[in-house]
Amino acid sequence: MLPIRQRLPGESRVWLTAMGLSIGLAMVATLLGVVGWYGIGVFWPKRVIEYRVLEDGKTSQVAGVVVQRRSKIGTKGEPIEEIQLYTGNRETYGLAFRYLAVPSIKEAPTPQNILLVERVENGNLIAYPNELISLGGQTVKPDDPTFTPRLHALLEEVADRREEIYALERHEIGKISRRLNELRRSKQDSDAPAIAELEQRSTELSAKAKELRKRQNEHTLAVTLPTGEKKRYSLEKLIDAYYPNQLGTMARCGRFFANIWNFASQRPRESNTEGGIWPAIFGTFFMTILMSAAVVPFGVITAIYLREYAKQGPMVRSVRIAINNLAGVPSIVFGVFGVGFFVYFVGANIDQWFFSNKLPEPTYGTGGILWAALTLALMTVPVVIVATEEAIAAVPRGAREGSLACGASKWQTIQRIILPASVPGILTGLILAMARGAGEVAPLMLVGVVKLAPTLTIDGTWQSEDLIPFVHLHQKFMHLGFHIYDLGFQSPDSDAARPMVFATTLLLILLVLVLNLTAILMRDRLRRRFAISAF
C-alpha cells in the first residue's frame, strides 16, 4: 500500500508563488495603512507635553506636541531615540520644530492649563494664558470662570469680522478694481464720470475696511511662553483657542470632526502649510466635471461610430488597436500636446481674435482650467471609448434585430434599445475616466495648475473674458494632486507641510478609491447580467 504521506513535487515552490501574492497585498495594505494612520492622526487633537530637558549641563523647558519618533544611528554607531516636537511660537523661537534626544529628558508632565491657539500666521501658539485685556482696560484672568466663554465669544466675533473684511476687499473692492481696469483700458472719455464714481466708491469701501480692521485690535491676550517669556497678542491674528490637555474623549471627538471640517472648507494659509484645502477640492471637482462633459459625448459618439457605422475590417481593427494603445501613452505626452496645441496655438489665436486689447498679457494663451480639462479629456477618451464599445457589443443581437424587424431606423434602434442598455457600461467608463483624471498631475503641471489661486474658477464676479457668466474658464486653478506635489516637494518648510500633505493624500486616495470601487461594483453587476468573456 502506498504511504499516505506523499511529498507532492513542487509544493515548496507553490509557497513561493503564495509569497508573491502576500507581498503584493501587504504592499497595498502597508501603503494605505501608512497614509491612513498619518492622515487621520493629523486631525486627532494631541496632548501638549512639557519637557524638562538636561542638555550640556543646562536644564531647559520646552512644550509641544509630539510629531514623530525616530531612531538615529549616532556617531559611534549606537541607536539614539529621538522625538520631534512641534513647539509652535515660530516667531519667538525662530523654528517651530525641535528634536529632543530621549535620554536627555528628565521630566515630562502634562500641564492642564496650557493653551493651544491657532493663528493666522506663524503657526500655533502654545503658552500659558495670563489675562485677556479688552479695550478700556478690563482684564479677565484664566481662573475666572468667564474667561473661556469670553475668549471664545471674542474670537468668534473677530472671525466674523475677518470674513467681512475679506468679502469687502476681495469681492466688492476687487470687482470695482476690475471694472476700473476695463474702463481705463478702453480709453474712452465718456467713461470719465463712471470712473470717478467707481473710484469714490472704492475709497469709501477701503475706509470701511480700515475701520473694521481697527476694531479687530481691540482685545489682547497676554501669555507666558513655556520658556518663561511674557508676550501679548492681539486677537486679530488669532483664530481659535482651546486647552488640549483638558479635553475629554467626547470633546476630542468633537474637535476631531471640527478639524476635518475646517480642513475641507477653509482656504490655505502660510504658503499652503496651514488652513484648509477647499480651493483644491473645488478645483479638482470642477475640472473633473468639465473633463467629463467633454469626454462623454465624444467618447460615446466615437464608440457608436466604430461599432455601428464603420465598416468592420482591418482598418477599423487597427483604429481600435491604436485607440487602445493611446490609453497606455504616458500622460506627460498629453500634457506636452496640451501646452503646444491648446495653450500656445488655440489659446494664442483666441487672444488675437477676441482679447487683443489685453495683449501682451495672455487671457486664454496661458494655462487655465479649460485647457486642463480638454487635455485630460483627450487623455481619458480611450477609456470611455473602450468601455462604451464593450457595453454596446454586449447588447444581445436579438434585441437589435428585433428592433429593426419592428421597423425602427438605425438611429431609433441605437437611441431606444442600445444606448439605454449600455448606460451602465458608459457610466463605468466615465467613472474610470474620472478616477484617472482626478489622479493625474503630470499633464496638469504644464497646462494650468498653480500652487495658490487667489480666486475660485466659479465665483460671484462676471468677468469680460467669460464665455459663460460667472465661470472663469481662463483662470488657473488648484488641484489636490498638485497640492500634494507642491507641499511634499517644493514647500519651504517641509516639517510644517507634512501633516497637510498626509491629510491631502488621504483625501485624494479616498476620492480615487470611492470612484474605483463604484466602477468595479457596477462592472461586476454588469458582468453577471450579460456574462461576457473576460475583459
Binding site: 509544493e11 509557497w15 503584493g24 497595498v28 497614509v35 503646444g340 441605437i414 498631475v441
Partner: protein, 759 residues
Amino acid sequence: MPTATEPPSAPAADRFQTSRATLVVDRVMTWLIKAGGIAVILAVCGIFVFILWQILPLFQGASVSRTGELALPAGSKPMALGIDEWGEIPFVVRADGSVAFIPISGSAPTTIAIDGVGAAGASAVSYRPMTQHLAIGTGDGRLALATVGYNAAFADNVRIIVPELTSGGSFDLGEAGRPLRAIAFGDGGSHKLVGAIQDGADRPRVLAAILTETKAMAGPGKIELGARIDVTERFAGVPQTVLVDERGESLLVVTTAGDVHRFRRNDDELVLQQTFRPFADLADARIASLNWLLGDVSLVATSASGANRLFSLFYQKELDARGFAQTKEFPPLPGGAHAYAPSVRSKAFVLAGEDRLSLRYGTSAAVRWEKPGAPVDLVALNGKYTRMVTLSGDTLQLYDLDDPHPQSSFGALFSKVHYEGADAPKYQWSSSGASDDFEPKLSMVPLLFGTMKATLYAMLFSVPIALLAAIYTAEFMHPRFRTIVKPTMEIMASLPSVVLGFLAAQWLAPLIDQRVPSVMCAVVLVPLFAVVFGRIWSGMPTRVRVHIRPGWEYLAFVPLLLLAVLLAWQLGPVVERLFFTVPDGNGGQLADFRRWWTATTGASYEQRNSLIVGFMIGFAVIPIIFTIADDALSNVPKALRSGSLALGASRWQTAMGVVVPTASAGIFSALMIGLGRAIGETMIVVMATGNTGVMDWNLFNGMRTLSANIAVELPEAAKDGTLYRALFLGAMLLFLMTFIINTIAEVLRQHLREKYKTV
C-alpha cells in the same frame, strides 16, 4: 376606429412607409455620428502629427535667400564690414579712416570719420561684432579705438535707427611713421590688450600694448597706454597675423610657416604658453585664416590647402595647463577662407572660400548652408542671426537667413559631442547655465539612459512579484478569494502616482536611508522563508497539513512575511557591522553601508536613489502585469489543466508545465504593457530622484528620465526655442516607445483571445 357594425376599413396604402421625420433624423444622426467619430479619431492621430510638426525644425538646415544688392558709394578701399543687430544699416570701414553707413532702405548713406586716424589712413582694421568695437592701426604706427553704436528711436511704432561712432582714443603704438599691417584688440575691462604687426626695418615686428582704464564716477573712464612689449624675438618665424581674445588675456601670433604662438598676459608681461601647428599633418601647413568663435575659447582655422578645423582651449594633461588642441574637423573649404564672420548668438560662422560661401556650425562640425560662387571680399552677420551681408568689389549683397536651431542636428541630439571646454566628447544634458554665452547641451542620450535605468530597476522588482502572484491567483488560490484579490489589485493600480512619489520621497527614502543592509536581508530572507517553510510543510503528515487548506497559503504566509521582515530589520545592523565597515580615522571600524559603498565602488550614494524609485514604480506596475497575466492564465482552457491533473501531475507541475507555457504569449504581453507604463512614469521620478543626468547603473544614485525632464523643464522653456523643441522630441520618443510596445502587446492579446474564445 371601426365599431362592431361598420365593416373594417381598408388598410392605409402607405402603412409600410417610414415617417419622413424618422428618415430625416436618421440621416442627420448618421452624419453627425460619422463626423464626430472621425473627428475624434483624427484628433487622436493629431497628437502624433502635432508633436512631429513641432520637432521637424530641429533637423532642418539653414535657408539663406538673397534679397537685394546695394551699391557702395565711391570712396577708398573697404577694409572691414559690419551690420547692426536688426540688419538694416550695414557699414564699411574705409582705408581713409572713415566709416560709411549705408541703409538698405535706400536712404542717404552717412559717413563718419574716426578720431585719431588722420591723414595716414587706416592700414589695419579689426572689428569685434560682439561688442562692436573697432581697432584701427594707422599708416603711421598709431592705434585708434572706436565703438559703433546704433540709436533706435520709435515714432508711430516705426523704428528709426541712427548710427553713431564713439571714439575710444588714439595711442602711439610702435615706431612712429611705419604702418601697422595687422591689429587685434581685446577689452578685459580695467586692462585691455592690443596686438599689432608693424613693418620693421628688416622684418615685421610684433608689438603688444596693455591699456588701462580708470573708471570715472559718471561717463566713460580714461584709457591710458601702459606697458608696450615687443615680442618679435620670442618666437621663430615671420608673423602673418595676430589675435587677441575678448578678455584681453591672450595674444596669438600666426606665422607664415603655419605656427601659432600663444602668449598669456601676466600683469604687465606676456609669457609664451604654447606653440602649436594646426595643420602639421598636411603637406602645406600654411594657415589661410584663423578667427575666434563666439566666446573666444575656440579658433576656426582654415589652411591654404583647403582643410578647416576647430581648435579649443581646454585642460591638457601633457601641458598640465589649458592649451589649444584640435576638437573638430570640418568638410574642406578649397583654398582656405578669404573672409570670416561669426554669429554673436551661437557657434555659427560664415566662411568665404575661393569658390563658395559656407555657413558652418562649430559644435556640430556641420555645414548648414553653402553656395558656390565667386569669392567675396568681406562678410558680416547681424546680431539677431537673421541677415547676412557680403561685399564683392563695390556691391553689397544682402541675404535673409532663416536658421532658428543652428546647434541642433541628429548628431547633436544623439551622439557624443565635444563641447567647448571639455576634454573629450560626451553625452550631456544641461539646458541652462549662469552666463550669457552658455551653450545649451541637449543630448537625448542621458535621458534615454535614465529612462532605461528606472525601467530596468522597476521591472527587476515588479516582474517576479507580479508573475508569482498571478500564477498563484490563477492556479492555486481558492476561487472565493478572487472577489477580494482582484479588486485589491485594481485599487493598487488606481493609486495616483503623485501619492506614490510623495511616499517614496518623504517616507520610504528616510526609512531606508540608513537601513540598506536590512533591505538586503529582507530580499534574501523572505523567499528563503517561503521555500523552507513550503518544504517543511509539504513533508508534514496530512493531519497537520489540513490546517492550511490548499488555496489558503497566501493568508498563512502573511505572519511568516511579517516575521521575516522583522528579522531582517533586526539583522541589518548586525550584517552591516560584519561586512560593511570603513575605517573611521581613529583606528577603529565604522559600520556604515553608505560610506562603504562610496569607498568600495567609487560611486556616489544618495538618499533618493534608484532603489526607492524602482520599488515605487514597481508598485505602480505590479497590478498591471498581475491583471493581464492573471487574465491570460485564467483563459487557458480548463480541459488542459484537468487533463494534466488526471494524468497524475501535481498542481505545481501542471501550472509550470502546461498552463504557463500555453499562456506565455499573454504573460509576455503583460510584461510589455507593464514596461510601457514604467517607461512613461513621471511623478514618481520627479519626486523621488535627484533628477541628475548621470549615466551609470549605480543602484544608489538617481537618474533623469525623459518624462521627468519634460515635466521639470517645459514650463520654463521659451516657445519655439531649441529647448522647447528638444523637449517635444523627448515626448515623441516616449510616445513612439510606448506605442510600439503597447501595439505588440495588444496584437498578441487579440491573437490569444481569438485562440481561446470562451463564449
